[in-house]
Amino acid sequence: MTSIILLSIFGIINLFVGFMKSKRILLPLSLLFLAVVFGANLFSWNEAQSYFNHMLTIDNYAVAFTGIMVLATLLLLPFSQHYIEEANENLAEFYSLLLFSLVGAIMMVSYENMLMLFIGIEILSIAMYVLAGSDKRRLRSNEAALKYFLMGAFFTGVLLFGIVLIYGATGSFYLTDIAATAAVNDGTVNAMFTLGLLLLVIGISFKISAAPFHFWAPDVYEGTPTLFTSYMSTVVKIAGVAAFYKLMAAAFAASYAAWFPTLIAITVLTLVVGNIGAVVQTNFKRMLAYSSVSHAGYLLMALVAFNERSDASILFYSLSYALATIVAFAVLQYVSEQRNGDETYAAFNGLGKTNPLLAFAMTVAMCSLSGIPLTAGFFGKLFVFTAVVQDARLMWLVVVAVLMAAVGIYYYFKVVIAMYMQPAADAAKIRIGSFASFMLIFITVFTILLGIAPALVSDLL
């Protein structure tokens, strides 16, 4: 709860600090705020507490995922350099909206009541609708905001309909009450319950861009300014998957037979569509959007496996995926801006020679995303596959996932090939601030560290 209150207050303070003439203080101030929230969050470790009549519970699960999301925001904010350089007058609003959105994300991982889940999703999404359309001069950004808003509002309606049907069937919004009613009635109370469950699954699958509800993701990710795409791709997805897992584990554990077939179909479809879709892309940003769809598939695999290793593997995979994605989008930001807004693979030509640091960071990020050993992504995939393998009936799912991961290596390494083996079209060095380079090095080192010693994070939950 302290993290929610602190983030809200810090967001408001940020808005008013934006009235000062010099915007230079905004980034350090926001980073300081996020660091304070990260620290305050750690105080709630092993001290589970419920608020608001058991609507919100800050337990270890919530603290762990809050920590990852706050850390992800902390790591991606330093790459907002070009906003500071061009003295964007809305910089304070951007940071405040990110902080407010983070409040919604924290509510999504610590809810005990479906209404809190809905409020969290709305707080998270509405701030993101604004940020998606924040670049008013580009048509793509407007398109992204409109598509995101319309589809998001529609699917939130679907989610609400599901919540209402579950309420009608069980008489309560609380996850524990729903679980009790479902357990008494041997899994499914009546047809209304099953329909509500299905609609809930659909509503949340939209949020994490799982196929076949992923169609908004490529256009929205491509149109949104890259800084906010990296936030969308990490924090929004992690919050969605964590909320999904909490929902299934706390409320619908007894109804496993009801939601299992649907979710397996969604998972397989997501894995296939995400990976095959990314193969044919020429735009790097769009490829990252499809790849984030496929990563939602891997996360859903751990969810579908539904054993005691699921939450730890989701946690570790989220962290490794967040780190790699932040680096990928950060490097893309610098490269595309200083090479005339070109976001295709060709923009990365020759980066190995002009900016070895950027190229190395991008290579490590691509290795992590494809699951090459010695990076965090490898252990992420290993934990997810181990969790799935516990259930002997799901062996075929692991086979599909491994095949799709192999497909993934192709498109992740397209950019590595462009960086190191293609001659540079423009030999100018990409300008990058020292603080941003330091953050890139830090994240890369952290990724490799987690790839060598994953027990740092995987033993938490």
Binding site: I12, L15, F16, F19
Partner: protein, 163 residues
């Protein structure tokens, strides 16, 4: 006879149907009684005695959008104030806690309103509440000819006309 009872919602439904029928009766009777002899003058839109010029479908001014947005926020705040008001002044609660309940709920509500006032202050300071005045663009022309030349020329023309 089977026991039937209409809940309160049933009463509301009856009221709704009754009101619709009442209005329809009035309109239908008027339509029966009145003469029907339209002519072009009678069919024009009423505009307080003036002649109507152009279409009635004018473009809606987007400046009103900001006003409507800020209104809706504070209207929702007002809606939250009502349930608070029902529990705030309860005599039993205040007496049971020796006055602490009154102070506690008052401070809570001040914090709630305070956060929204911060939002209003932000919108005010950012200039979102200013009515955007249209800036008419006066036509500017820059010619290299000084205005004296025009005066002399006009004076000469006038002299010529007098002559």
């Amino acid at each position: 006879m089977a026991e039937t009872y209409t809940s309160d919602f049933g009463t509301i439904l009856l009221f709704l149907i009754g009101s619709v029928i009442f209005v329809m009766l009035g309109l239908f009777t008027a339509k029966l009684i009145r003469p029907h002899r339209p002519n072009p003058e009678k069919l024009t839109t009423y505009e307080s005695g003036e002649e109507p010029i152009g279409n009635a479908w004018v473009q809606f001014n987007p400046r009103f959008y900001v006003v409507a947005l800020i209104f809706i926020i504070f209207d929702v705040e007002l809606a939250f104030l009502f349930p608070w008001a029902t529990v705030f002044g309860r005599r039993e609660l205040i007496e049971a806690t020796n006055g602490a309940w009154g102070w506690f709920s008052l401070i809570e509500m001040f914090i709630f309103i305070g956060i929204l006032i911060l939002g209003l202050a932000y919108a005010w300071a950012k200039g979102h509440l200013d009515w955007i005045k249209p800036k008419p663009i006066l036509p500017q022309s820059r010619s290299g000819i000084p205005p004296d030349v025009y005066r002399q020329f006009n004076a000469r023309q006038e002299a010529k006309r007098e002559a």
